[in-house]
């Protein structure tokens, strides 16, 4: 009770700490310290004088308590070099202060202030399919039929194993649930899509596709999770030409819609789906090398129409290797354009406002080093976040800003080979390297409180 003029004394593992009620109030009622001091556990006010001697005993590590108490006092986290992160996280979890620790670790995402904080070596030797950032700062890495899940402390959880089904894409519904799309194997009624628990790896729900009230097995490809209306989109390939985009509800898990592939648009094999909140439509991109003719379209599910489309079919008659081929695409709603990238790492833009426009290529070759010819390369990938454009290229990621998309930063590490995929989420950037299956974690340092 020891609250003489708001002062409180703790005995943590034999070490005495004295602090104030106001400092502890930062922990919140829903923390161990908050509950400890709550009136319901301290029914009687102590007699004055006696109070000075009273103290709360906590049977925990005093060194960690000191760090956490300091966090409550200042809002900053300073971990002594000899203290393992794991230990501190465990103690923070005990006190219910993990959220505060997480918030103090890194600040809001800014592509130009990123620092490499960790490199996690994976279990498998290279050739990862995809890496996805979770909303809380965790991530998952898919390769083959496995998905490795890491929480924000980069603690690996039980991996999700799909029994020899090739994982095509993964995505987070929330920190606790991961959607996985997988390839169907011939003769077996498997494949499709499922939701798995990120902490235990168990299957929670399987998404069904039904045609004419018959449940069909299918191969699920690229995924997109609409954030505003809780929908999941996936490109689907069925057995009997049931190609198209399936739509499910994130909450009920039921199929709510299906966009059958119209002629001239390949939807079932899409490389990239992206839900555009402002336009209420879905961008579908089917690109080289999966297909010879690249197709990018915007689908409106309300009237099942293709609002806008672009294709390089016909434009490149001679399929020479020198031809600039679109390898990845991302829609930037704010600038009403789609950004694409080719095999020479040139960025190109397609205007969404006109239906007839071609690609405006803007060569950036002069800005960056060309790759060494002998090095094994990966196809470039694109991402946007808060008006910044990210493009992976060889072993680095370039950050572009402003209306003219000027190169402002490059993120590069030397080992692990070129970057085969990267993802931004939970205020972190994860980059997966192809050769050694190492992934890097980049985060923005918390802004200093002056």
């Amino acid at each position: 009770m020891a609250s003489r003029r708001g002062r409180i004394r703790f005995n943590v593992g034999g070490k005495i700490f004295e602090t104030t009620a106001t400092t502890l109030a930062n922990a919140g009622r829903h923390s161990m310290l908050g509950a400890l001091l709550d009136d319901s556990w301290n029914p009687r006010q102590p007699v004055e004088g006696e109070a000075a001697d009273a103290e709360y005993f906590i049977d925990r590590n005093p060194a960690c308590f000191a760090v956490l108490l300091d966090l409550l006092r200042t809002g900053e986290l300073h971990v002594p070099p000899n203290m393992p992160e794991k230990l501190l996280n465990r103690e923070a979890l005990f006190y219910g202060l993990l959220d505060q620790v997480r918030a103090a670790r890194w600040g809001p995402f800014d592509g130009n202030r990123l620092q490499l904080v960790d490199s996690v070596s994976g279990r498998a030797p290279g050739d990862g399919t995809a890496i996805r950032a979770g909303p809380d700062g965790g991530c998952c890495v898919a390769h083959g039929s496995m998905v490795h899940v890491y929480d924000w402390m980069l603690e690996e959880h039980r991996p999700i194993s799909l029994d020899y089904q090739q994982v095509n894409d993964v995505g987070y519904i929330d920190a606790e649930s991961i959607v996985i799309s997988a390839r169907e194997r011939l003769g077996k009624g498997d494949g499709g899509m499922g939701v798995f628990s990120s902490s235990t790896g168990e299957l929670r729900h399987r998404f069904r596709v039904s045609h004419d009230n018959q449940v069909k097995s299918f191969t699920a490809g690229a995924l997109s999770l609409g954030s505003s209306d809780y929908k999941i989109f996936a490109s689907c390939k069925g057995r009997c030409n049931e190609y198209g985009i399936g739509v499910w509800d994130q909450i009920t898990g039921q199929q709510v819609d299906f966009f059958y592939e119209p002629p001239g648009c390949s939807l079932g094999d899409a490389d990239k789906l992206q839900w555009l909140d402002g336009d209420k439509c879905l961008m579908v991109a089917t690109l080289f090398p999966r297909t010879d003719n690249c197709f990018i379209g915007l689908l409106d599910f309300r009237d099942k129409s293709v609002n806008w489309s672009w294709s390089d079919a016909g434009t490149s008659v001679s399929l020479s290797l020198d031809e600039k081929r679109v390898l990845h695409a991302i829609a930037i709603e704010d600038s009403r354009s789609i950004c694409v990238v080719n095999q020479y790492d040139d960025l190109g833009f397609i205007d969404l406002r006109s239906n007839a426009g071609g690609v405006r290529w803007s060569s950036r070759s002069k800005l960056t080093n060309r790759k060494a010819p002998n090095e094994e390369s990966c196809y470039p990938k694109l991402a946007t976040h808060n008006g910044q454009l990210f493009s992976s290229m060889n072993d680095g990621i370039s950050v572009f800003c402003g209306p003219e998309w000027v190169l402002t930063s490059t993120l590069r590490r030397s080992y692990g080979g070129s970057i085969c995929d990267f993802s931004i989420g939970g205020d972190r950037l994860f980059a997966l390297h192809s050769e050694e299956n190492v992934f890097d974690v980049w985060e923005t340092p918390p802004s200093l409180t002056i």
């Binding site: 829903h30 923390s31 161990m32 509950a35 400890l36 709550d38 319901s40 556990w41 029914p43 009687r44 709360y56 005993f57 906590i58 049977d59 979890l93 005990f94 219910g96 993990l98 606790e176 628990s197 902490s199 235990t200 929670r204």
Partner: protein, 733 residues
């Protein structure tokens, strides 16, 4: 353990501990279970939070989360069952209090249990898809207490009974009610809705259904509405005192449905107190209440509006077709205005200035005003009356108000061109006889008509004003230049009227007395001298004259007479007795006018400057007239009016009508040509609708007339029928 560790540094030391765990888990759980018991028994002061928290933490850490969680469920359920028993055993009125107290206890205990198990809540619960502790506690309370067989119905009955008692006037413990309903809401909105709100609404519906039946039998409409309104406020208050905010819409809609919607027709048509009576008696308060209550239910306002409309149309129809009223046009229009004022006031005071009601009012007026085809004439007469004398000594603002009101009636008129005709006539009379009370008022009226109907409508009226003004100038010029040697001779005042601007009736020439003829000719020479290329025609039927007469006893009077009358009287300067025929011969005044003049000179009491043989009211062709020597009058000036109905006589009416119809023809044709010029090809029905809409602001053209006009235009080769489709017309450029 440490001893073992020292001996062997293999990991087996750990394994040993794992094997000890079952007992450890059991022991730890016992501690926690005991603590939960103590918490429920209000005996928590001896417990150490730190120890309990650590124990729960250790259980989860050592993978006994499941045991901890299921243990919690069992223990809590056990306590809740005991609580249920004690609540069931509580005596009648104490039931709710006991429930409330136990709910408070449970909440407090739940809070403490959640504190102890916080670590489990954070780690074990989300990973294993369990319900968090707090929610679990609420669910268990719901299943074991609120939905236990003995408590569920008793709780509902008690709550509904208390509400019923409050409705019947008793005072109940509202704060207790609030606690209980808040508990139901805390347990989830579905619990509140299923276990309380739904039955509450049902019971309320039957309560109000019964009450409304009873009230409608014994109350009049106003009283019923007062009671319904009070019930509604009561229910809203009830919601604010102890129910969920979301219930307000639901319960008020129940009351509205039962008390208003179900009895709408009966209330509106209630004998001696229904809507019509309220309207007749201007019961603003009741009307306003009715409006506000009926607004809440579907079709409520339309019901009120329909009844008001039909009442208005009915009374309006009576008003415009009442032969008594038709006798006095001024009174007739005044009645219309009063009626309009009355309803305007009702709508603004009681109906919230509702647009739809205003529209209904307007359409009703439009309907019945146009039922009587003399309305345009009457309205013009009303203005005439007001502008002649009615507005004397009235402030400018008030004049505006009166004129605005008239304009409002004018707007209802379908046959605005008829009004124009009459207005022109009346204005001409006013101007020529100099009876206009206020020039400003006249002009203001013209401006109003202009803004309402456009320049075209008033151009001729304005022309009349211009003529009046130029006439004054002309006369000044005439007297200044030519007639400066003013002697005893008659003074002439000429008003030069532009042909076409004025409603002139073709009049036969009348023989003016020689004295007048001279000066007339002088004026003619003067006028034609200053304005070349013009023709002057004397409109002797419209002039007036002031003549001095000396009667038998030498008394002198100034007689104000019309030009015709002057001509007649001048004859008596040279003769004492003249027969009708002689007069007719001498003056050549058209017979009907002459008869009227003589009638006013000889037959009106007090103004009979002539004497007629034989004495009778009517003038016959062989009557003889004498100069009345014995004429006396208190006044020096005697105004001798012409016996003429202010209203038009039947043939005159016919004539006006005919002229209006005649005037409409070119307008309709012009409209048709305008439309066809832009559209080139059109079918008959479209032309009719377009023409109607174009001319609506002036009059409502008759489709038959339009058809005739089209035929006439085809004859004159403005249009032709399409060769393949006979319904189509083509414009021929």
């Amino acid at each position: 353990m440490s001893a073992q560790k020292k001996r062997t540094f293999k990991i087996e030391a750990f394994k040993h501990r794992v094997e000890l765990d079952p007992k450890y888990a059991e022991r730890t759980w016992k501690v926690l279970e005991h603590a939960i018991h103590e918490i429920y028994n209000h005996n928590a002061s001896g417990l150490s939070f730190e120890e309990l928290y650590r124990n729960a933490y250790n259980m989860v850490l050592h993978k006994y989360g499941e045991k901890l969680y299921s243990g919690l469920v069992t223990t809590m359920s056990g306590h809740l069952k005991e609580i249920a028993k004690s609540i069931e055993d509580s005596q009648g009125g104490l039931f709710l209090e006991e429930l409330d107290r136990k709910w408070g206890d449970h909440n407090k205990a739940l809070q403490m249990i959640r504190d102890i198990l916080m670590y489990m809540d954070r780690t074990f619960v989300p990973g294993n898809h369990k319900t968090p502790v707090h929610e679990l506690g609420l669910n268990l309370w719901r299943d074991n207490i609120i939905r236990s067989g003995k408590i569920q119905t008793r709780l509902l009955d008690t709550l509904l009974d208390l509400i019923h008692r409050e409705r019947t006037g008793e005072v109940i413990n509202r704060s207790l009610m609030r606690n209980i309903t808040k508990m139901l809401m805390d347990l989830g909105s579905s619990v509140y809705q299923e276990d309380f709100e739904k039955p509450f609404l049902e019971v309320s519906a039957s309560f109000y259904s019964g009450e409304s039946q009873q009230l409608i039998e014994c109350c009049d409409c106003g009283e019923y509405l007062r009671k319904a309104e009070r019930r509604l406020t009561e229910e809203t208050e009830r919601v604010s005192h102890y129910l969920d905010v979301k219930s307000e819409v639901k319960i008020t809609s129940v009351v509205e449905g039962e008390m208003i919607a179900n009895h709408m027709q009966r209330l509106v048509h209630m004998e001696n107190s229904g809507l019509v009576n309220m309207l007749v008696d201007d019961r603003y308060e009741d009307l306003s209440r009715m409006y506000n209550l009926f607004r809440r239910v579907p079709d409520g306002l339309s019901t009120v509006r329909d009844v008001m409309t039909s009442h208005l149309r009915e009374t309006g129809k009576q008003l415009v077709s009442d032969p008594e009223r038709l006798k006095d046009p001024v009174d007739f229009v005044q009645h219309l205005l009063d009626e309009k004022d009355k309803y305007d006031k009702i709508i603004s005071k009681a109906f919230n200035n509702d647009k739809s009601f205003q529209n209904a009012l307007n359409s009703s007026f439009e309907y019945f005003i146009n039922l009587n085809n003399r309305s345009p004439e009457f309205i013009s007469l009303y203005v005439d009356d007001k502008l002649r004398k009615g507005l004397k000594g009235v402030s400018e603002e008030d004049v505006e108000v009166v004129l605005d009101k008239v304009m409002m009636l004018f707007r209802y008129l379908q046959e605005k061109d008829v009004f124009e005709k009459y207005y022109k006539q009346h204005l001409a009379k006013r101007l020529l006889s100099g009876k206009t009370a206020s020039d400003d008022a006249e002009r203001s009226m013209i401006v109003k008509l202009k803004t309402e109907c456009g320049y075209q409508f008033t151009s001729k009226l304005e022309g009349m004003f211009t003529d009046m003004k130029t006439s004054v100038d002309t006369m000044q010029g005439f007297y200044a230049n030519q007639y400066s040697e003013t002697g005893d001779g008659p003074t002439l005042a000429v008003q030069v009227l532009t042909t076409g601007s004025w409603p002139t009736q073709p009049s036969g020439p009348c023989n003016l007395p020689a004295e007048i003829l001279g000066i007339c000719d002088k004026f003619r020479t003067y006028y034609l001298g200053t304005h070349t290329g013009r023709r002057l025609t004397w409109q002797t039927n419209m002039g007036t004259a002031d003549i001095k007469a000396t009667f038998g006893k030498g008394q002198k009077h100034e007689l104000n007479v019309s030009t015709y009358q002057m001509c007649i009287l001048m004859l008596f300067n040279s003769a004492d007795q003249l027969t009708y025929r002689e007069i007719e011969q001498a003056t050549e005044i058209p017979a009907p006018d002459l008869k009227r003049c003589l009638q006013s000179l000889a037959c009106v009491k007090g103004k009979n400057v002539l004497r007629k043989e034989p004495m009778s009211k009517d003038i016959a062709e062989d009557d003889a007239f004498y100069f009345n020597d014995k004429f006396t009058s208190k006044f020096i000036k005697v105004k001798i009016g012409t016996v003429a109905a202010q209203k038009e006589s039947e043939p005159e009416k016919q004539e006006t009508r005919q002229r209006v119809e005649e005037d409409r023809k070119p307008q309709i044709e012009a409209a048709i040509v305008r439309i066809m010029k832009s559209r080139r090809v059109l079918d008959h029905n479209t032309i009719v609708t377009e023409v109607t809409s174009q001319l609506q602001s002036r009059f409502l053209p008759n489709p038959v007339v339009i058809k005739k006009r089209i035929e006439s235009l085809i004859e004159r080769e403005f249009l032709e029928r399409d060769k393949t489709d006979r319904k189509l017309y083509r414009y021929l450029a």
